[in-house]
Amino acid sequence: MRDVRDALMVARNTDGKLVHRPLSPHLQVHRWPISMALSILHRASGCALGVGTLLMTWWLVAAARSPASFETAQWFMGSIVGKLLLFGWSVALIYHLCSGVRHLWMDSGRGFEKAEYDHSAKLVIIATIVLTVGAWIVGLTAG
């Protein structure tokens, strides 16, 4: 026992052997409610957006360097790989935006009832899909 708090976390199993009680979060025994998936996706999308800032930085630096290097950057963004990256970036950005607004709403102390919690989670998913698809429809048809 390294810590006095461990005393509360030790129990006997059915064979009478001393075992550690499972610690929370004990992910593998729980089903995944939508809010739990949303929570970890918020982090994951945030990290992905960190990688996305490299794309934005390259785009801006290339434009500032020369017309030729900007042409290279624009060619890459228009290629299949570039478009896939941009699509991933747009999903992550719009998801993180919608989920972030939900977090700000909950920071105000509202929306913690289970029904509201699940409802706002579903709303985030729907808003992400609608806004992402909408942005790509406008993006691909405009110009």
């Binding site: 990290c47 800032t53 020369s66 900007f70 719009i94 972030g100 700000l104």
Partner: protein, 135 residues
């Protein structure tokens, strides 16, 4: 207080001065949390504006970008977006590292590396945007 004798109360070891300062055991109080929220609120309109801008600049050449940033409004919005984005990013990644990286030295190194990277990327973006806006 004489008139609160017998009333339900919570005993705290924190001194009245400590409570008034509100800085907690980490001595930074809610500054990190607050900065994260502040930048989040700022990023809601800025991000929507940026998505719209990216769509508008689809397939543009460099002259198109220069023309876009010639507007002081676009330049200011872009600078605000860059500052808020990278500040928000380094605050968020710091929490992720604090939660998942084991070992004090590794953790500190990772946090410093993230902060340095975000700072340099932000400077690169700011300098580029100013150069384009002044061109």
């Amino acid at each position: 207080m004489a008139n609160s004798q017998g009333a339900p109360h919570v005993d705290m070891l924190r001194s009245p001065l400590g409570r008034a300062r509100g800085l907690g055991s980490a001595r930074a109080g809610a500054a990190h949390w607050w900065a994260q929220r502040l930048t989040a609120v700022a990023l809601v309109p800025l991000t929507l504006w940026f998505i719209w801008t990216v769509i508008r600049l689809k397939g543009a050449d460099q002259a198109g970008v220069v023309a876009w940033l010639a507007s002081p409004v676009a330049l200011v919005m872009m600078l605000a977006l860059i500052v808020a984005t990278f500040h928000h990013l380094q605050l968020g990644l710091q929490v992720v590292i604090e939660d998942y990286v084991k070992g004090h030295g590794t953790k500190l190194t990772a946090i410093l590396a993230i902060k340095a990277a975000c700072f340099l990327l932000a400077l690169a973006c700011i300098v580029s945007v100013l150069k384009l806006g002044g061109a």
